[in-house]
């Protein structure tokens, strides 16, 4: 079994899983908040914020990676502050890979959730309000359960994107074995050398199996939570 991918392959697989899970776990709640803001909020600059969220989709990944480097590198505006204030280092760390993956997937997460929010019947939220529920309670007991299929869809899109993200990740945190060399980075490296195709194929399959497993899981969950 361990020979199937070799130690480097396994390390890339575990790392990809860790990075993608974290990227998903962090971006889903933020995505819900952002989707709510965009769907319900009425404030100046809403269009701009919407655009900003979509930007990683539009820009070539390398550019996004470079922007991340400029912002969150150790010499970057936010990176230095994060390190001094919270001791959080992103550059060349798996955390940075998770950040890159999360940001690249964020537009997908937000969109899926926003579509679900737009489909919620406001009458149900009205009913909850007349029953004395606070906004927070309405959100957690009515809105959130109703948008769960959308949240799940967003999560699986974010996870899949994180599993496949390459350009922004390698530009921002480079490719350090065991730290930031995710499956796509490993595959990219292998593809640059003649004759390593079999390893590429194995990693591709591993990646596909993991992501499609997540997809299957999300579909199953969605069926379970689907509004009756």
């Amino acid at each position: 079994m361990s020979e199937l991918f070799g130690p480097e392959g396994w390390s890339a697989i575990f790392l990809s899983l860790k990075v993608s899970l974290w990227a998903t776990v962090v971006s889903v709640p933020l995505g819900i908040a952002m989707a709510l803001l965009l769907a319900r909020g009425r404030f100046p600059g809403r269009g701009l914020l919407n655009g900003l969220v979509h930007l990683p989709l539009v820009l070539p990944p390398v550019v996004t990676g470079y922007l991340l480097l400029v912002l969150f590198g150790r010499r970057g505006a936010l990176g230095g502050w994060l390190e001094e204030t919270f001791g959080i280092v992103l550059a060349f760390r798996w955390t940075g890979a998770a950040l890159a993956a999360g940001i690249m997937g964020f537009p997908l997460v937000v969109r899926a959730i926003r579509l679900a929010i737009d489909a919620v019947d406001p009458g149900l939220e009205e009913a909850a309000a007349t029953l004395g529920a606070s906004r927070i309670r309405i959100f957690f007991t009515v809105t959130l359960p109703l948008i769960l299929p959308g949240v799940l869809a967003g999560a699986v899109l974010g996870f899949a994107k994180a599993m496949g993200e390459f350009g922004a990740t390698i530009t921002f945190v480079s490719s350090i074995p065991g730290e930031t060399r995710t499956i796509p980075s490993a595959i990219y490296g292998l593809l640059q050398v003649p004759g390593r195709e079999p390893e590429v194929v194995r990693l591709v399959i591993a990646s596909a199996v993991l992501a499609l497993g997540a997809l299957g899981l999300s579909e199953w969950l969605a069926r379970r939570v689907r509004v009756r």
Binding site: G123, A129, G132, A133, V227, R228
Partner: protein, 351 residues
Amino acid sequence: MIEIDFTRTLGDFTLSPTFTAPAGVTALFGPSGAGKTSVARAVAGLLKPDTGRITVGGRELFGPSINLPARKRRVGYVFQDARLFPHMAVLANLRYGGTRDEADVIEMLGLRPLLDRYPADLSGGERQRVALGRALMSGAELLILDEPLSALDAPRKAEILPWLERLRDVARVPILYISHDVSEVARLATTMVLMENGRVTRAGPTMEVLGDPDAVPLVGVRDAGALLFATVLAYDEADGLTTLTIDAGQLILPGRLGAPGDRVRLRVPAQDVILALERPQGLSALNILPVTITALTTGRGPGVAVGLAAGRDRLLARVTRRSADAMKLTQGQELFAVLKATAIATYDIGT
């Protein structure tokens, strides 16, 4: 005490209701599209008036400097469409706003077998019962019921109405009640507000509005009738009849309508009152009252609305013009009103 005076435009429809109603049940009555639901939404905080004021029990819910959010208005609202939470089972729906009188409400509405079901698996009437239960259990300080019984069969209605009466009289929860069914309204409503085209055309005590010959066209010919207050004298166990006194004499009605001394109110549909020049004999109708004609109103149709005074009580009768002519009915004439006991059946009796 409900005080409403506001305006709000909805597209090219202008809603500008003005009325004041004392504690008890206030019925909003009027044709489809009159603006009843919109008034209810404004009271519940779901529709913001452009200007005006809404006060319930002294609490200002909306005014020039206040607009209490819906969740703070403590209004239990049964929507015209049930609006159950589709992702919660019936029990969770019921408990969402509170659990006041849980067991009683579940019993009264016959919800016990439905508790584990999801709304999608309920019939139309079942849904409406759950929505009603949810509002009743919320411990609201004002109930708004928008056609809560329209999807229900008569026996089920008959079970629910006494409960609403108890809320009105015992728990003293003010109720805003929207319905197309005059017998429901007559039974429950302290105040009747007639609406048309966004405005209030008539508002006042239910007895006055329903007993007013002039209101007959507004209420609908078949739905006109008078309200009487009566006091229970005795209940006859053997034949199941209750004897009551009203100002003009005695009435005998089927069913146990209360303990001796209780005050009850009765709706006497105008079409169920027969007029007789002489006291009739050998009739199955048990109630014959001497009355004096106070008003004769001839409408467009073949009917004549006859206002009657029975002591200090007022009655309304509807007879054909031919009968009115044949009997030479005139204002001030003294004659007899025959009320059929079963036409004033339990369904129309409110305590």
